[in-house]
Structures are given as structure tokens and as C-alpha cells.
Amino acid sequence: MANSDAIVGWKTITFGCHILEPGNAANFRTGDWRSQRPVVDKEKCIKCGMCWVFCPDMAYSQDEDGYFVVDLEYCKGCGICAHECPKDAITMVPEEG
């Protein structure tokens, strides 16, 4: 509920404080919390998908060629993917500015 849309009066707050829109976490662009981002070296990547398994924000998805790519709109830069990658194919690179 970090979004300012959630700041409502008691008359308009949802019934029982329920979240009625499924998957509404997608509305929260958490990518801007990031101070470092993962960069995948496709030379080393074996497409095992461990990054996809471990990513706590489900920011990884598979592209047409079978590589796993991160969605920087949601990646918080936690580095778990880099830590778990069995081939050390992922490097965390500081965000600039």
C-alpha cells in the first residue's frame, strides 16, 4: 500500500480492507527502489532458470530464445539471482545517478 491511491477516507476504504483487484501488486513500480541491477552474461548462461525460481519479486521471465530476462520495472536489485546463479552468469552493476 505504498501507492498514494490507497490513502482514502473511511467511507471509501474497501470493505473489510480487502484488496479486490487480483494481482494489483503489478501497479506498484518497485523498480525505482533499486541501487544495483542484475546484468546477465549470455555466454555463461545455461538457461537453467534458477534466477526465475529464486527472484522474490517474480521479475524474471523467459524470452523467445529461452534466456531469462529481468523486468527492471519491478526488480528491486536484491541480488539473490546473482547469488544463486550456478554459472556466475549474473553480475550486479550499480545504478548510475
Binding site: M1, A6, V8, W10, I13, I19, P22
Partner: protein
């Protein structure tokens, strides 16, 4: 047609829960609630009720399980007492603000220490502010009727709040007495199937129980408070509908021989019956004494109570609870707030009686009325008095 039977009140409550077609019953046994859930588990095992009985490992688990089943849209019932109710405490605040209409019967019992399995209202007063609708039964018939009423009110989509029916442990729960048990057809007429406003359903996913940051927590709690206050209308409406079908009329506050009364006793729960007998005796002796019985405790029916007091000058309020260090018992405090700075307000005197199974007899009520009269002439030093306590 309903049938009049001699039956233990606990068993009759279980029968009522069966007639209400409860679907999930997670419960953990504790004296004096035991017979209610024991009988329900038997009814489920015998196939008399099409429900899931969940023999949980604690009251904390019972209430957690209730939250799950009610959120999934199943009519849910449980029951507890005393320390068991307190073990639920962490969970009890959750279904109320989340608007999940669980129904619970609490067989009221003292809180340890010292260990006491006997009746008073200390267990439920610990849970006074959990935001559940709460009623108190005076006798076995009411225990049954209020249980049915609780399902009707709690599940009303305009209310959608959990509800507790308080019955005095032992003094009601373990007594065999005549009770009109309604039949299935009548109950079905009164109680439509449970159709929640929202439920957890994979076909239409929603989330229940998110975090409430400081910017929304207050609003969530105010929404809950407003829902409680709005609920009164539907509580009364359900009692009207109950009367139409079953012929028994219930009010949030009941008056007994209050006409021209100078002193009014104020009671809650099963001592109200003995209080009526005491009022009869005092009236026979020419005293202008009446009785107000509070049936609806939360939301508190302030308007109805003020009206019921009429022109009486003295209220003798009996609490079955002694909160150490407080100014007076919770019912006394509630009524003092109600009448604060109201012109012509009665003098309110607070008494504590009937703790941990101590009997409140006709003589005790007479003593309370005498003391209230004396206090009206000479203000007492303390805001409450414990009745029948030995000094040495």
C-alpha cells in the same frame, strides 16, 4: 412446529447450531463450554449436521481456522470460555475489522488466578473491545434464540460482523430446563443461506488481510466502528423477524416493573432472572424498585437504555467483573459515560457481585438496592462496592 423439551442448555445450543446449518465448526473444549462442542461433534459424526468439525489443537488455532472457513464463505461456528477465549484473543480482532461474520457462543467463566472454572463475566470483559457484536442470554430459551439470531445478524450483508452470544457458564450451560426447540422449516425461513459480500474464491481472486499503514489504519478502524453502530438497526430488525416466525420478542434492553420505580437494578445475563424475583419481593414490600436487563452489550444501545431509565433517580448497576485498579466495573463505566452531563440523569452506583461462581441471591439484590438508596443520600467514598465480600 417447534417442540417443548426438557434439555440441557448446552445441548440445546448445539441443536440450534445444527438447525442453523453451520458448515464449519473448529473448536477446542474447555469447561464449561465443553458440552456444546462435544454434542456438535457427535451430531457431525452421526451425519445429523452436514458440517466439517475441526478438532483443532488450541483455541488460537480454532479462531484462526474460523477466519479461514468464514473467508472461504462457509457458515462458521465456535465456542469457548475463560482462558481459552483469551488464547483466541490475538485472532479475535482480525475477523471483526475484516468483516467476517463468525458466530461464537461464550460460556462465561472467571479468569485465573486463582484457578476458577465458575461463572462470572471477566472472560468476556477482557474481550470487550474486539469489535464483535455481543449479546447476553438470561435463560436457556434465550441462549437458543440468540444463537439463531446471531447467525441472521452477523451474516446480514448490511452488517457482516462476527457475533458473540454470552451464556453464563454452569448457571446456564449445565442446567436442564424447558426449551422450545424450533423445527428446521422455521429456522430455514428465518435464516437464509450464507451469501457473503466477498469470499476467497480462486475464480474471482481477492486479497484479505493486507497491512494497514498509518495513513489507512485509522480509517479502517473508523469504518469498523461505523459498521458496528449501523448494525444496531439490523439487530433490531432481525429480532422483529424472529418474533414474526417464533413468537418470542427480544429487545436490546428489557424493562421489568419499572413503572414509577425510584431505584432500578441493572443486570446482564442469567442473574437477571433472580433479580426479577427479588424485584417482585421488594415490590410486595412496597418498595418502588424495578429492573433493567441489558441484552445487547455491543453495540451499546444508549438510546434505548436512556429511554428505559425514564424518570428513575437511582441506578444500581451490577458488574460480574472486577477490573483491579479501575474506577469501576465495565457496565458501570459505560452507564456513567452514557449519562455524563445529561440533565436529570439518575445517580449511578456500581456494584460488583457474583465473581467466580459466587451466587447472587434475592437477598443480595435487596442489599444492593438498600445500599444504592443510602448512597443516594450520602455519596460513597469509592465508585463501586464489592457485594458479599468477607473482611476477615
Amino acid at each position: 412446529m417447534s417442540k417443548r423439551v426438557g434439555i440441557e442448555v448446552s445441548i440445546a445450543i448445539a441443536e440450534a447450531v445444527g438447525l442453523a446449518r453451520a458448515e464449519v465448526i473448529p473448536a477446542y473444549p474447555i469447561t464449561p463450554q465443553t458440552h456444546i462442542v462435544e454434542h456438535l461433534s457427535e451430531m457431525v459424526a452421526n451425519g445429523e449436521v452436514d458440517a466439517e468439525f475441526v478438532p483443532v489443537e488450541s483455541e488460537h488455532a480454532a479462531m484462526s481456522c474460523c477466519c479461514g472457513s468464514i473467508a472461504a464463505g462457509a457458515r462458521t461456528f465456535t465456542s469457548s470460555s475463560s482462558q481459552g477465549l483469551s488464547l483466541m484473543s490475538e485472532i479475535l480482532y482480525i475477523p471483526s475489522t475484516m468483516r467476517l461474520p463468525i458466530v461464537m457462543v461464550v460460556a462465561n467463566r472467571a479468569m485465573s488466578a486463582p484457578i476458577s472454572i465458575w461463572n462470572d463475566h471477566q472472560d468476556i470483559m477482557v474481550q470487550r473491545d474486539i469489535g464483535w457484536i455481543q449479546t447476553f442470554a438470561e435463560n436457556g430459551q434465550e441462549a437458543v434464540d440468540l444463537t439463531l439470531h446471531a447467525f441472521r445478524v452477523a451474516e446480514d450483508r448490511n452488517v457482516s460482523l462476527p457475533m458473540i452470544v454470552n451464556i453464563d457458564g454452569f448457571t446456564l450451560s449445565h442446567v436442564i430446563e424447558p426449551i422450545e426447540l424450533p423445527d428446521q422449516e422455521e429456522v430455514d425461513k428465518f435464516l437464509p443461506p450464507f451469501k457473503p459480500r466477498y469470499k476467497l474464491d480462486p475464480r474471482r481472486p481477492i486479497s484479505m488481510g493486507p497491512v494497514g499503514i498509518p495513513e489507512v489504519y485509522t480509517e479502517a478502524k473508523v469504518a469498523h466502528d461505523k459498521a458496528m453502530k449501523k448494525a444496531k438497526r439490523y439487530i433490531l430488525k432481525a429480532w422483529d423477524e424472529f418474533e414474526e416466525i417464533f413468537g418470542r420478542k427480544y429487545n436490546p434492553v428489557e424493562s421489568y416493573r419499572t413503572e414509577d420505580a425510584e431505584v432500578l437494578l441493572v443486570t446482564m445475563g442469567s442473574i437477571s432472572e433472580t433479580a426479577m424475583t427479588a424485584v417482585d419481593a421488594m415490590r410486595d414490600a412496597g418498595q418502588k424498585v424495578g429492573l433493567l436487563r441489558i441484552r445487547l452489550w455491543r453495540p451499546f444501545p444508549g438510546q434505548e437504555f436512556r429511554k428505559a431509565v425514564g424518570k428513575a433517580k437511582v441506578l444500581a448497576v451490577i458488574d460480574r467483573c472486577l477490573p483491579p485498579g479501575a474506577l469501576c466495573g465495565p457496565v458501570g463505566a459505560e452507564l456513567r459515560s452514557l449519562f455524563y452531563k445529561i440533565p436529570g440523569a439518575p445517580k449511578i452506583f456500581s456494584f460488583v457481585a457474583g465473581l467466580g461462581g459466587r451466587d447472587v441471591t434475592v437477598e443480595r439484590f435487596e442489599e444492593i438496592v438498600d445500599k444504592a438508596r443510602a448512597f443516594a443520600k450520602k455519596r460513597p467514598r469509592e465508585l463501586y462496592e464489592v457485594i458479599g465480600v468477607r473482611e476477615k
